[in-house]
Amino acid sequence: MNDLLAARSQMGMSLAFHIIFAVVGIGMPLLMVMAERRWLTTGDQVYLELARRWAKGTAIMFAVGAVSGTVLSFELGLLWPHFMEFAGPIFGMPFSLEGFAFFVEAIFLGIYLYGWDRLSGRAHLGAGIVVALSGALSGIFVVIANAWMNTPTGFTMVDGRPTGIDPIAAIFNPAALTQTIHMTLAAYAATGFAVAGIHAFLLLRKPANAFHRRALHIALLVGGPAALLQPLSGDRSAKMVAQHQPAKLAAMEAHFRTESAAPLIIGGIPDEETGQTRYAIRIPYLLSILAHGDPQAEVTGLDRVPRDEWPNVLLVHLAFQLMIGLGTVMMAITAWAAWLAWRRQELSEHRAFLRAVALATPAGFLAVEAGWMVTELGRQPWIIHGVMRTADAVTPMPGLVVPFTFFTVLYCLLTVAVVWLMYRQIAKSPTAEDWQRIYTPVLRDA
């Protein structure tokens, strides 16, 4: 493994690991707050129990997210010093704002987790709301910085150096809006579906458990609408990519030849050597419609892109298909839930529905990972699209396979520990005896 590939692998692995925890850090606080609010308004102790248990899971995930995020902020320099030297002053503003958003999030999460007995109900709920808002905000700032790498603005190149730097223009880069909306919705969809799936699984084993039923409802209320809105945001994203990163769009769609009235290619195995995609389904005109809103529009293919500026077409195309497929599954489940609810059927008693939700537990997170593979691998060979190649950004230090191996082993061990701890938390969900306690009125000291 050469040093560039090792550095890319380490960065990719670190991001793939961190994003799980970052997404949970955005989604879970909303679930906790919804449960706590229902407790405050209805007085139903089950909701309090739910909020407390979700908070424990959030604490574990947030801690790992905080430290793995720190790793990333250093890795930007440890692996890509030339990129950071170039880009820091241009795209760094969102990071400084993110620093404060993350600060607020960490402060109020500490208050939320340890303050159950020290704050009034309203103040405690307020702390949770601040966590949910600042969590979403920090995610948005980080994604703005990533969007800049896709559509860099706010400077002009003169003799290989950036001049006329405008950090505000860099914040409002063309990809910023579509990418942040897409990622924020993804965070709510992924968390909502993962939590709904776990509680659906437990409902299948212990039907009519009020704890899991309430949990399922809240989780679907967060995950469902996000999953329904996501295709709209995805469509905006695709049009933006078509305009600013035609090579990425061509790789996503396995679109080798520039043509008008281009068909949409679903599935299949693209072959970069022959420029053919085998075993695919083709829907006439649809790519032209999706990319440019016109069935006759010309869609740039990879033939217009110099061969050494192609991303890995096979990986990008397959990751994109996976993301779309999983998104469709989540949308279908949401539609089913809406249909059942409209028919006034209790979701938590419909076993086929519960089975589908349980099966979809990892769908959102897999879609998030696949989506990031699309945007990151699809940008290659560039680290800053059209401006700096990834190969020119890497650190001169040799032997990068060593830290890559090191962090991989470390993160594998952490994954095992987190999975074990989450399993413990979930396995401890309330039993019959707990109900006695939960339903017994508890006096809270204000």
Binding site: T70, I90, F100, I107
Partner: protein, 338 residues
């Protein structure tokens, strides 16, 4: 008087963020060290007090480091790039320490309360708490010693190991560790109203405080031969005599207060002493960011970036300061019940 350019203001903010990190997060690391060295009949209660004291605040305290890194790469990108290349190995090890400290502490809180499981996570947490400040100190010592070249040269060992694996950076590493342990012990006397525990941490504060003094003197001795910038600054500069008096005075004050069990005074004097030690380093280096060649002005990003970051800092602090006060008022206004 130096000219307060935007670049200098950002540099001052950077030092301030590091100082906040030292007196807040440093004490959390120190807590981990005292978890490792918990001894005697009150071992369990010591550990419980440490865990309760850092539990609600360590994640917030940790963000100061992220803020410092962000300020460095947004406002002084060449310095960040050079540091990241030469200090790749110690910084990577430090990251491993940060990851293990934070996750092991949280896992211990939420895993089975059986002794075996608690001890296993506790060991990871406490060893990581010990190693991380040493590596941060090593990085700081390497910078002060002028060990960050424009570009690495020579063999792998010459370029990526030799700059930091030397006596002075290592001494600063031990100094950083002693400071963290000292701060933690002093703070912990205020976290409980259990007199036995207070005595335990009072003794530990004396031990760590002596450690701070000895390593600081040893580092100064090394600086005389190897790091003239620091030696000159601390002994021969215009501000040196006043600085010596104030640092010495604070050290004396915190020790006397500990002696007389007036923990409230020690709780204030000790972090001031720590901030002054860090500030002394910064003053020695001025106007260099990376001695001997890269100045604050030369490393600075374009003015527009610096001004925007300063505006963001001002705005951020309006939100941050009340939030931090709220956090500390909730959890630090009365002793923990163990």
């Amino acid at each position: 008087m130096p000219d307060f350019t935007p670049a200098l203001l950002v540099a001052v903010s950077l030092v301030a963020a590091l100082a906040a990190y030292l007196v807040m997060a440093g004490a959390d690391f120190g807590g981990g060290v005292w978890d490792l060295f918990a001894t005697g009949p009150r071992r369990r209660r010591q550990r419980a007090l440490i865990a309760e004291s850092i539990g609600p605040i360590w994640e917030a305290n940790h963000v100061w480091l992220i803020l410092a890194v962000v300020l460095l790469f947004v406002c002084f990108p060449p310095a960040f790039a050079r540091l990241s290349v030469t200090l790749h190995i110690p910084l990577t090890l430090m990251l491993v320490g940060i990851v293990l400290r934070g996750s092991a502490f949280t896992f211990r809180t939420y895993d089975s309360q059986s002794d075996d499981v608690q001890r296993r996570w506790g060991l990871v947490f406490s060893w990581a708490s010990l190693v991380t400040p040493v590596l941060l100190g090593v990085a700081a010592g390497t910078i002060a010693a002028g060990g960050i070249p424009v570009r690495p040269s020579g063999t792998f060992v010459e370029a990526y190991i030799h700059p930091w694996l030397r006596a002075f950076p290592l001494a600063i590493g031990v100094l950083a560790l002693s400071l963290c342990a000292y701060l933690a012990a002093v703070y912990l006397t205020m976290e409980t109203d259990d007199h036995e525990l207070q005595e335990d941490f009072r003794l530990r504060a004396f031990g760590a405080g002596i450690g701070v003094f000895v390593t600081a003197m040893f580092a100064l001795f090394l600086a005389r031969r190897h790091v003239p910038l620091v030696w000159q600054g601390l002994t021969a500069s215009a501000w040196a005599p006043g600085y010596q008096v104030v640092v010495g005075g604070m050290a004396l004050l915190s020790f006397t207060a500990l002696w007389q069990r007036r923990y409230g005074i020690a709780r204030v004097a000790a972090p001031i002493q720590a901030v002054l030690i860090l500030g002394g380093w910064a003053l020695c280096q001025y106007p260099y960011l990376l001695p001997p060649d890269l100045t604050i002005a030369a490393a600075a990003a374009p003015k527009v970036t610096l001004e925007l970051v300063l505006a963001a800092l001002a705005l951020g602090f309006v939100v941050l300061v009340p939030s931090l006060i709220y956090l500390f008022r909730i959890f630090k206004s009365r002793p923990q019940r163990v």
